[in-house]
Symmetry: C2
């Protein structure tokens, strides 16, 4: 994991990617959120090395996405349970899955049922009007936490040049 | 990039993560979708090595998320433009940004304006009823492309044991 840290980049995509921008980490979260909580089950499902799995689990515990809970005293055994922070990422995984379905899976490996009773597809929408967000219809503008620096050296000025009041 | 390939895992999260489950790749896509199209501008924005950037761009061209377009004949110069496949990933990046805002950014670095005229937050919703999808209210069930194998060795049987007809 000798990768540049993005924690200090003034961008929430960068800060999120710093933790979950890793394929194994995404699959560990997928599994834990689907109900696979034990080390051996996770290792068996994903077929990854125990060392890599242990590193990903440690990171996710440290970042507060998983909680390590003892489920047996003799012998001591622990399992990994998703926190509210991990559950809050679940819809992002569903949106990623929908993209993967559209571009990589001729037949969907998984179907989703929502509590409304219908089979569904995750759709990213505007919290205000409910319409799907698209790259053509959505504009990024500087926010109060914006800053020009590493990871936003060109992007920051580009966004700042946009006019918040008058549209694109 | 000597990582296990997830292209053959019967899971659209895995197949998507195989391509975009990488922090640098996510930030390159963020930039290109925000309007930064040239190699030097991308390198300058992100502060990553030219070698790493070239590898990420080559992957994204190969996977059909970016198109390499010549914009100057003398000297020959190219820029990278997002395809429809990349644009289709933009809402996923916005959903990831919203999660990053909630958990990592006390003040949002970026604000979003939708064409409806309002400042907004990306929300992952049910395509059928429009309500937000949550891990409690959404159930994964086996789909026609589902398969038990590497990456789904434990998950596959777990989903298959669920009853499509009768709910959780």
């Amino acid at each position: 994991m000798a990768r540049t840290s993005f924690a200090d980049v003034a961008c929430s995509i960068a800060r999120a990617a710093d933790v979950v921008g890793d394929a194994w980490t995404l699959l560990v979260l997928r599994d834990v959120l689907a109900g696979i909580h034990r080390f051996d089950d996770l290792a068996g499902d994903l077929g990854l090395s125990r060392k890599v799995l242990a590193a990903r689990l440690a990171l996710l515990v440290e970042e507060g996405l998983l909680q390590r809970v003892r489920y047996s005293a003799h012998p001591p055994r622990h399992e990994y349970r998703p926190t509210a922070k991990a559950a809050d990422l679940y819809p992002v995984l569903l949106a990623l899955m929908a993209w993967g379905d559209r571009w990589y899976s001729p037949e969907p490996p998984v179907r989703l049922r929502h509590r409304c009773g219908q089979e569904t597809v995750a759709t990213v929408t505007c919290a205000q009007c409910g319409e799907p967000l698209t790259s053509e219809d959505t504009e990024e503008l500087p926010g109060p936490g914006g800053r020009v620096g590493p990871g936003t050296a060109v992007l920051g000025p580009l966004l700042a040049a946009r006019d918040w009041a008058h549209g694109a």
